[in-house]
């Protein structure tokens, strides 16, 4: 049976709509969601690549949780609560995120997340996507064309309204080719010096998707405040905005330190091997919940459950189970944490 349902793209924090085509309980393709106000049916390469990965990955719809949950409970009981660290990411939707935070608080566990050096930004400094279209000077940092094409589209609209555009990046990139001015820098450590030299206007907006350290990002934040302009950050995950608001987000070194100081890691929706060397995970007990890793305790992916993500503008968008497969016995993060919580 072929069904098509609305969903939200799980790739970056833009919050694009997407119609998922499923057949017999499995995702088979994408159809444009043409009346979604953020992207009007347009999706970028990252989004489609993500769906294609899901399409080709092996599916499970049954899993015996009992043993794994008993094992996990034993591990959690074995260690002192301050030896346990929960690591999650912006891939987790709002309801599950809340559950994780509650769980950590209740049991007094540490909780951290790594969100590519970004930290929380004052909400009054964040423009809406429509503001971007109305801006007269847009400074983009990183390749926003290739990585966040749907914000690039807003920048193109601004250009059509005669806005000036500047791109700052450490490499040649598509955003640079399509901006009036391209400033290539050696390292993002120079970023603030480059920004200081730009004559900003009242409606200037910085659009950023890449930075090398929290320190530099916070410097940009200070600069934005000082100049009275706005900054829009495109994060790597769909719900990073909420994560930044609820969890302490750390840099790589700090993450490594937290891991070193813990004995048991509860990793939820995060791939540590993509961030850190495997070495620092040696000799650690790890409980991993993931919808993509076959060795982890399986959880429902975003498209198999109802939920909500908060995008870069701070807009929370609900989405529904796009597959509606009644035979799917896989549990959600909240369900698993509830079971574990009861046992401890």
């Amino acid at each position: 049976m072929l069904t098509i349902n609305h969903s939200i793209c799980p790739e970056c924090s833009m919050g694009c709509g997407l119609n998922l085509i499923s057949k017999d309980g499995e995702i088979v393709g994408v159809n444009p969601y043409k009346n979604h106000p953020i992207n009007e049916g347009k999706n970028c390469k990252n989004s489609i690549d993500n769906i294609n990965t899901i399409k080709s990955a092996p599916k499970i719809s049954e899993y015996d949780y009992n043993q794994k949950i008993t094992e996990s409970v034993e591990l959690l009981k074995k260690y002192d609560s301050n030896d346990v660290t929960i690591i999650t990411s912006g891939k987790t939707d709002n309801a599950d995120l809340e559950k994780i935070v509650d769980f950590a608080q209740e049991k007094d566990y540490n909780i951290v997340a790594y969100e590519n050096n970004f930290t929380k930004i004052d909400s009054e400094l964040i423009p809406t996507y429509e503001d971007v279209e109305k801006s007269d000077l847009i400074i983009s940092i990183g390749d926003v064309y290739r990585n966040n094409s749907l914000i690039a589209r807003r920048i193109i609209h601004a250009q059509q309204n005669n806005a000036k555009t500047i791109n700052i990046n450490v490499t040649d990139n598509l955003a640079g080719y399509n901006s009036d001015e391209f400033k290539k820098i050696e390292s993002y450590d120079e970023i603030i010096n480059v920004l200081e030299k730009i004559e900003t206007t009242k409606d200037t907006i910085i659009v950023i998707n890449d930075i090398n350290s929290t320190e530099n990002y916070e410097k940009i934040g200070e600069y934005v405040k000082e100049k009275g302009i706005k900054i829009l950050t495109l994060y790597k995950h769909p719900n990073t905005f909420s994560v930044l608001n609820t969890i302490q987000c750390v840099q790589k070194e700090e993450l490594m330190e937290s891991i070193n100081n813990s004995k048991l890691l509860l990793v939820i929706n995060e791939e540590l091997s993509e961030i850190l060397d495997d070495e620092c995970l040696e000799n650690k007990d790890i409980i991993k919940l993931s919808s993509t890793d076959a060795d982890a305790i399986p959880i429902r992916a975003w498209y198999e459950k109802d939920g909500s993500f908060t995008n870069s503008e701070g807009l929370t968008q609900e989405f529904e189970d796009a597959v509606q497969n009644e035979d799917n016995q896989i549990k959600t993060i909240s369900e698993i944490l509830t079971l574990v919580g009861q046992e401890i």
């Binding site: 444009p32 009346n35 489609i48 598509l174």
Partner: protein, 384 residues
């Protein structure tokens, strides 16, 4: 029996249908008599701006799909070619869907015997978000209050929950950049004659759907529906046939005018076009949604045609090659332009190339029968 006026005998269908409810009634007859496994049709999802392609297997669901959805510019041809190839299905086809299916069949992507095409005459579709804005601006109505819409006599008409109707001339809307999608404005095919039957309201008596029968199977389907009591029919007068022809001709003439304007006068200069194409992020969405693109292995992703992400993109290696594979068959459905995240006027570029190819070879994609497609081994005499 070439032309008929058709009316459904089912009051529920008549109530929901735009005219005589012929489309739903005939689909219902196909479904209930098990001539098909299922039906692919547009269904209102959240509101009139949210048409969703739905695969339907029960009469109850089918009845939810009555009435037109002009704000759902969805291509159904590639959905059936990709996901429903092995089922026997009926589907409603706008002219662009019908042209696409014809081109897909030429590429052996579908079996014509497996599909019943119920054609819908079409003057054009409207982008849903543009429609909402336009209704706010020119109708002074909250777009959420609109319960149904239709296009008739050159006007875009909306109906509100309280039964009130409001209309604005499409020409006026289009002058302001609203109205139909640009590719629809340029579209020359208004009646899908490759479909088994083509349904519409041009020339029809009130409460009837005007049906043109194009194939033997179309005739059978109609006869069956009459015999089983799903529809009643009457012959249109000569005058009605003439009116319909006139409407069609006027629209084709308009489309040609728009082609001139959009593809020549307002078309970007070669340098501007190069700048626009530099935006291309190679997301391949234009290819993904293109109903013509049917290859199992795509040239665009071949190793020797890749550039590094730091290099300035060469449009030849993306859109040049893409056009080399499909532009001769471009049916101007506009899906590529709809999904392009960086607003490249793809449909215009492709249609320009197609029109030149058409002039040289006489090949009209999705319409011409008997002319060899570009890759065909047929030998034909063409002036050098």
């Amino acid at each position: 029996m070439e032309y008929l006026q058709v009316k459904s005998t089912n009051p529920e269908i008549l109530e929901g249908g735009e005219n005589g409810g012929a489309v739903t009634a005939i689909l219902l007859s196909l479904l209930e008599n098990e001539d098909v496994d299922g039906i692919l049709n547009m269904k209102k999802h959240d509101d009139v701006y949210d048409g969703m392609p739905s695969y339907i297997t029960t009469p109850e669901e089918l009845l939810e799909t009555t009435g037109s959805l002009h704000c759902a510019p969805i291509m159904t041809a590639d959905i059936i070619a990709k996901y429903l190839k092995d089922s026997k299905i009926a589907l409603t086809t706008k002219p662009c869907d019908a042209m696409a299916i014809d081109e897909i069949i030429k590429r052996n992507g579908l079996n014509r015997d497996n599909i019943f095409m119920i054609g819908l005459n079409c003057g054009g579709t409207v982008s849903p978000l543009k429609a909402e804005k336009m209704i706010e601006l020119y109708y002074d109505v909250d777009p959420k209050d609109v319960v149904s819409e239709e296009i008739n006599k050159g006007k875009f008409i909306i109906e509100l929950a309280n039964g009130e109707e409001k209309d604005v001339k499409i020409d006026d809307l289009e002058l302001e950049g609203y109205g139909r999608r640009e590719n629809c404005q340029r579209c020359e095919l208004k009646i899908p004659r490759k479909a088994d039957i083509a349904c519409g309201n041009w020339g029809s008596s009130k409460g009837y759907t005007f049906v043109e029968i194009n194939t033997e199977r179309g005739e059978e389907v109609i006869q069956n529906a009459i015999d089983k009591g799903y529809i009643e029919v009457k012959e249109p007068s000569e005058k009605q046939v003439a009116i319909r022809k006139k409407v069609e001709n006027v629209m084709i003439k308009m489309a040609k005018k728009k082609q001139k304007a959009q593809l020549e006068k307002e078309y970007p200069s070669p340098d501007e076009l190069q700048d626009i194409l530099t935006r291309c992020i190679k997301c391949y969405r234009c290819r993904d949604v293109c109903p013509i693109c049917n290859c199992k292995v795509c040239s665009l992703e071949k190793e020797y045609l890749q550039q590094s992400p730091e290099e300035k993109p060469d449009p030849l290696l993306m859109h040049g090659i893409r056009m080399g594979h499909m532009a001769f068959s471009c049916i101007n459905c506009g899906q590529c332009e709809d999904v392009c995240p960086v607003e490249i006027p793809l449909a215009k570029i492709y249609q320009r190339v197609q029109l030149k190819y058409r002039e040289e070879t006489g090949y009209v994609p999705g319409v011409t029968s008997g002319k060899p497609p570009m890759y065909s081994p047929d030998k034909e005499e063409v002036a050098e």
